[in-house]
């Protein structure tokens, strides 16, 4: 199966919470990402899904090293991103690029589009100004924009065009891994399709690996080879797209999938409606984080945290129910 491009091992990110008493540090913390393990193979697309606040974006920022993990290891091509020196990190960053959610806020309003796309080359001192200009024109063409637009400002473009500019910038340094943090959720549905198709084409053209974060299950279904489902900072289920969609093992995944709208009004689909709210990430419940809302809760769930159990070769879920079935 070859070596994974990225391996995330037991990564935690806890944000300290401001205490109620001033100047006295609080011992509480928000467990935004709690003990996450997964790997990404070269050339594949790993989707990360989950509701708002489950730690998807924090995970993206951790991999991109915009923030440092509290604990854990992240191996990118066998180099640990956490313990790298600042200079080594800069070179590794050439290989990991990110497309942000908001196409409006992620382009500097005072720079021309050409300058924005050129910037990664300038930062890493690649080429001279003539070759950089040529690369910018080439990239604009690749993402389907007129190369003549490079002297315009970002605000002169539509949302979809801006996201294309963001994608062009992410491609500038020929990265291997691109993290897409909800790249289409701010766009119109019609434009979403265009951008997603662009991303798919680029993947084929440049053998890119994607980590695709989204809460839109239809988008994920279209884009991803494998899917990881997150709940309250933890991965509760991870597996290939077929496995997750056709035989979800974790009750949360089942509920999530049942929430996808049906395509025709004559279709009947059983809808699992969860009760209660997502617990606070400051004080997650003991045992399985999902036990308070789980329709199949057992006594064991309230005390013991279930590990990620392998059900088939490419499918793991963290639920006590799975063991029971085997027994």
């Amino acid at each position: 199966m070859g070596h994974p491009l990225l391996e995330v091992k037991q990564v935690k990110k806890h944000f300290p919470v401001k205490g109620t008493i001033p100047f006295v540090p609080s011992r509480q913390s928000v467990k935004a990402v709690d003990n996450v393990n997964f790997h990404v193979m070269p050339g594949e697309t790993l989707g990360i899904v989950g509701e708002s606040g489950c730690g998807k974006s924090t995970l993206a920022r951790l991999i991109n090293r915009l923030i440092s993990p509290t604990e854990g290891e992240m191996n990118f091509k066998n180099k640990d991103l956490v313990s790298l020196s600042k200079r080594d990190l800069r070179t590794v960053r050439k290989n990991i690029q990110m497309v942000f959610q908001d196409p409006y806020a992620s382009l500097d309003p005072r720079k021309r589009v050409g300058q924005l796309i050129e910037e990664p080359l300038v930062i890493h001192g690649v080429g001279d100004s003539v070759s950089r200009k040529r690369r910018v024109a080439e990239l604009l063409e690749i993402v389907g924009l007129n190369p003549r637009y490079q002297n315009r400002y970002a605000h002169e473009f539509s949302g979809g065009q801006r996201q294309r500019i963001n994608i062009a910038r992410a491609l500038t340094l020929n990265p291997e891994l691109i993290i897409c943090d909800e790249p289409v959720s701010a766009l119109d549905v019609s434009v979403q399709a265009q951008v997603i198709n662009l991303l798919k084409d680029l993947q084929k053209q440049f053998q890119l690996t994607y980590i695709f974060i989204s809460h839109d299950l239809n988008v994920v279904r279209y884009m991803c080879d494998r899917i990881a489902v997150m709940y309250l900072g933890k991965i509760v289920e991870i597996g290939s797209y077929e496995e997750i969609y056709h035989s979800p093992k974790h009750p949360y995944t089942q509920a999530l999938l049942s929430a996808i709208p049906v395509e025709s009004p004559y279709e009947n689909k059983e809808r699992i409606i969860l009760t209660g709210n997502v617990p606070s990430p400051i004080a997650p419940p003991p045992g399985c984080a999902f036990h308070e809302r789980c329709p199949f809760v057992m006594d064991k769930c309230k005390t013991e945290t279930p590990p990620l159990i392998e059900t088939t070769e490419a499918h793991r879920a963290s639920c006590h129910l799975i063991k029971k079935e085997e027994e």
Binding site: N64, L66, R90, R93, M98, S106, P109, N166, R169
Partner: protein, 299 residues
């Protein structure tokens, strides 16, 4: 055939776009605002007056004539009359523009450079550095502006350079505040995160992204500060702490004129008007500048 028309249309669009761009260019946007254009015009006139003072002035500014003291406007070839020493008021106003503009601009540049630097460091890095810098700035701000300048002038002694330093230092906290606030909001923007994720160093992020996006309020504040600095210089000169006595300065002329308010009211009025017009035009210009500097704003 069909293709040709398509590319023709594209060219036409490009042409239209370029024309629209020209319409929205910085200078056009600025001058379309009538008040700003007026301010700009007055400022240009002032700058030329200051530069070409020796050619415009009708008399040497320090030349006294005891036989022609306190003349009214237009008497004996003195356009705006003379003061108690028989010096030509018009010529002194013209030369006074030099002092006012030099002090106004130099003091603000001094304050803006050091203030912005402190503000950027404070806002961008935050934490302890921020706390230390801003508490010092708060301490300086606790003094009334003019009191601080007076204290500094008594420490430094009189002279043009010292006036510039005193007003410049008194300007630092204001700039630090404005820039820090701006940096605090800009540094949270997504595009700063993007740049960091590309591998940019702090210096690049600060000088290429944070500062350019914080500059608009800074420039507006700076133009207003020029007006303030001109008033400060006038106040210091009025109090006898500014430039040395024979040198013509609007503030010192105002001070000399106050003794003759009943007898010769125009003496104080003319220097006061010079300050008023200058400050007003700079403020109007500053307002227009803020609107014109925003690339998103269409006027």
């Amino acid at each position: 055939m069909h293709n040709e028309t398509a590319s023709d249309r594209e060219l036409l669009y490009e042409e239209q776009y370029k024309r629209a761009q020209k319409e929205q260019s910085f200078m056009r946007k600025l001058l379309r605002n009538k008040l700003a254009a007026f301010g700009f015009f007055v400022m240009i006139v002032l700058v030329f007056t200051a530069i070409f003072a020796p050619w415009i002035a009708t008399h040497p500014p320090h030349q006294m004539d005891v036989t022609r003291t306190l003349l009214g406007p237009g008497e004996m070839g003195h356009l705006l009359g003379t003061d108690s020493y028989g010096r030509d008021t018009f010529s002194r106003i013209i030369y006074g523009a030099r002092i006012s503009l030099i002090v106004g601009v130099a003091a603000v540049v001094f304050g803006a450079v050091f203030g912005s630097l402190l503000g950027v460091i404070s806002g961008y890095f935050g934490g302890k550095i921020d706390a230390i810098i801003m508490r010092i700035m708060d301490g300086m701000m606790a003094f009334p502006f003019i009191l601080l300048a007076i204290v500094l002038m008594t420490v430094f002694g009189q002279g043009l350079m010292n006036v510039i330093f005193a007003i410049g230092i008194a300007n630092i906290p204001g700039f630090a505040r404005v820039v820090r606030g701006q940096v605090l909001s800009v540094k949270e923007a997504d595009y700063i995160d993007v740049t960091r994720s590309l591998g940019a160093k702090n210096t690049r992020i600060i000088f290429h992204h944070v500062l350019p996006n914080s500059i608009a309020p800074l420039i507006v504040y700076a133009t207003m500060a020029v007006a303030g600095a001109i008033i400060s210089e006038a106040s210091l000169s009025f109090l006898g702490l500014g430039v040395q006595p024979p040198t013509a300065s609007w503030g010192s002329m105002l001070q000399e004129g106050k003794d003759y308010l009943v007898l010769n009211p125009e003496l104080a009025t003319i220097s006061g008007l010079a300050i008023l017009i200058t400050v007003l035009s700079i403020n109007l210009f500053g307002d227009g500048l803020r609107d014109a500097l925003d690339p998103k704003m269409k006027i």
